[in-house]
Assembly symmetry: C2
């Protein structure tokens, strides 16, 4: 068999990099569970009809079909008439899970979900075809209090602060604020239609086409100079809890919906003022739009300092109708961390790594194959106290067994002695001392691989 080549957009990690990913996932789980989020997983596939309801990114969806069905029934429907496809996010499957299991869930329902998703995008740094997302959402039946919007920012902020990532800026906006502002300018329609929709679409391109490009688009949409200036002025507001109200008022626009949006946004900013700002700075960024429909209130984006070209690594918002089963409406608010997007570039550039590529802390040497059982018993004693231990795969010369450990970054080699005593060598210092397999422990720092930030 020829050596296979990697598939572009489907990153796979070597064991040492995978240890970093595991650490990230452990921290996320720890923080999410401390805040009372329940873990769920949904199946990888959804009926195409569920996935494509929004009709937006169908060209990126991967369809899934049993080869047997394809062969027997080429071009036709699947065996049950419902074509399947891989999910492209965790929100649509979660909404489906909620309506399917509403009778068994307690509302408001807080869940976290860490799974792979698939999108047939053109691969580039930070963009993959298979990648892991970590989502938190809270969903209620009927109505969902606005304090949950602050809660999502606090929980994900706390997680981001503890992850081995560069500091981040969590940018928060509010769709009601923006829509209210536009109404105050005299624009009409809604987020999808009329001059409000056109303005949202134009401002959403600010990053790509710049202020002048947006101004041209707004003129084409029929906005007056004053309206265009107002919309652009709003998109340029960056503020904290202390100066948000003033910054918006200075633009001279008033509307009831604008006031409501400002109040909601202020509540989010105020509630998270205890996050460590050097790790997670939370700011109101009134240019953040998060696409053109779907979200109805708070929206979040997150950029890593020094890695802004990756785009937002952690995004979300409020949806007044996350799900709707025909009887009840389920509003929700949530935020999703692109785990693969955030850490893969850091791993590739060596900005973060594990201290060794294996969990093993000790290799027990084997003097000859007849004494392998003895080495096995020493290893079992060490493992019983939580020390990851391997027995040397060969009874080669001790020099080779030490090199076996050294190549893996394993710090200790254990030598059962002929007289029944034991010695352990720290192969970094060369120091070898007597040790008792029933009580010896390595230093805490050597017990498990650690995650090291910086080159």
């Amino acid at each position: 068999m020829a050596r296979p080549t990697p598939l572009s957009g489907f990153p796979e990690l070597l064991p040492q990099a995978r240890l970093v990913e595991q650490h990230v996932l452990d921290v996320l789980r720890e923080v999410f569970e401390l805040h009372g989020f329940s873990s769920i997983e949904t199946r990888a596939v959804e009926p195409l009809s569920v996935l494509l309801r929004k009709g937006e990114i169908d060209k990126e969806v991967y369809g899934v079909r049993r080869l047997a069905d394809t062969a027997a029934d080429a071009g036709g429907a699947g065996e049950r008439g419902d074509d399947l496809a891989l999910h492209f996010d965790l929100t649509v499957p979660f909404a489906r899970y909620v309506t399917e299991n509403a009778g068994h869930l307690q509302f408001p329902f807080r869940r976290y979900q860490v799974q792979k998703v698939w999108r047939g995008e053109r691969p580039q740094e930070g963009r993959y075809r298979e990648f892991t997302q970590a989502d938190i959402d809270v969903v209620d039946r009927g109505t969902l209090a606005v304090h949950h919007d602050a809660d999502m920012a606090r929980v994900m902020g706390e997680a981001l602060a503890r992850l081995p990532l560069p500091g981040v800026t969590l940018q928060v906006n509010n769709r009601r604020l923006v829509e209210g502002f536009y109404r105050g300018l005299g624009l009409e329609g809604d987020v999808l239609t009329g001059s409000i929709g056109a303005t949202m679409r134009a401002v959403d391109k600010l990053d790509k086409v710049g202020a002048r490009g947006v101004a041209d688009l707004l003129a084409q949409a029929g906005l007056t100079q004053a309206q265009a200036d107002g919309a652009l002025g709003l998109a340029q507001v960056r503020a904290g809890a202390g100066d948000l109200v003033q910054a918006v008022r200075a633009l001279g626009v008033t509307h009831e919906l604008l006031d409501q949006g400002v109040e909601e946004l202020l509540a989010v900013l105020t509630a998270v003022d205890d996050l460590p700002a050097d790790r997670v700075a939370v700011v109101a960024d009134l240019s953040v739009a998060r696409g053109l429909d779907y979200y109805t209130g708070t929206v979040y984006e997150t950029r890593m300092r020094g890695w802004e070209s990756l785009g937002s690594i952690c995004s979300g918002g409020r949806y007044d109708a996350l799900a709707d089963d025909g009887r009840d409406v389920y509003p929700g608010v949530g935020i999703s961390l692109g785990v693969t997007r955030a850490i893969t570039p850091l791993l590739q550039r060596g900005e973060v790594r594990a201290s060794r590529p294996t969990p093993t802390a000790v290799v027990v040497a084997v003097a000859d194959e007849a004494r392998r059982r003895e080495a096995d018993r020493v290893a079992q004693q060490l493992r019983a106290r939580g020390v990851p231990t391997e027995v040397s795969p060969t009874a080669a010369k001790f020099g080779r067994q030490i090199r076996f450990a050294d190549r893996r970054g394993v710090p200790f080699v254990w030598f059962p002695q002929d007289d029944g005593s034991h010695e352990v060598k720290d192969i970094r210092s060369g120091e070898q001392v007597a040790a008792d397999p029933a009580s010896w422990l390595p230093p805490e720092a050597d017990l498990r691989p650690s995650v090291v930030v910086g080159a």
Copy 2:
């Protein structure tokens, strides 16, 4: 939107059942890492050409294709000419990973891999279309010492002993032993061809067609009565380390390959004699064949006591050529636990469950919305000491807030008092006591949900 219906064969767990699955995965990871296995994950898709090399179960494979490609290019190849499909096990992807990354791995390489796999089988109890497997394998370049075969049984046996499952029987056989015995009987060919292949295929049907049915098949394959009796006699041997040699010798067949196989099998049985037999009984079962090719030495199957109808929940074996990159051959030995197969039926029948459906141990009550910040601060103090804590979503009457906790099985509700002091109520006993948010801890048993075995 109409309420969606579950997809048959794609099980999804409610949060309380998911906690059991997480516990199982945690135990597996803990045991695997204690034995020095590195975690890897491979992408969900492989080129179809890689998956179908063995040509055995192609009708169960799920093909994957971007909808855009399907539309633009119906019936043709994918964008890069290589059709993709979802992996149906973790062994084929691991073999591909090893050849792709051989230059970056240290051999012998011990890895564990816990991921979902997909097979388009007809769903039934213990058979799913999407399910989680947990694999351990060790692979070397060139040759792989036989003591690793015992190691796999020991590691998985240790994990099985610690899982919340009924006791299991780990059945071990050796393909060399069987082939050697058949040669000793005068049969010819190999595992795939001639009278040896025909006999293996017939004996593999013992469970389904019984001894008489196998005897008929052997007669059709041209075996003499004595040869058929011998083959059936071997398949009926169940032995431990103490009586294996005698049980095989009693059949009166000799062959050099038989001796080698007996020796290898005995080494496995002897090495694991310290497993707790009530949890994991290890026996030589000379009927175990594990399909018809692929494995070349040791083979393993595992049955849960009282759940034999599920078939083997944990299987594997040795492959002298797990992978081959044209320059080197990579022998391996491994064993794979069907996590979903083992635990889903237990969950469905209530044989195992989590003590509560949420990680939350404490709900902090909110007297009125103006005091939510105060409740948030109490919650943060508790979380800082590792206590999963939620703040009540509403400032409803305390009776409703207590019911909110009770419906989730949360044991404690915390009440900030008007005078700045605090009280905490155990809502099971009703006892309410003064408590300090800076030091209070729940009893260890209440801190996290636990896993309960038995109805």
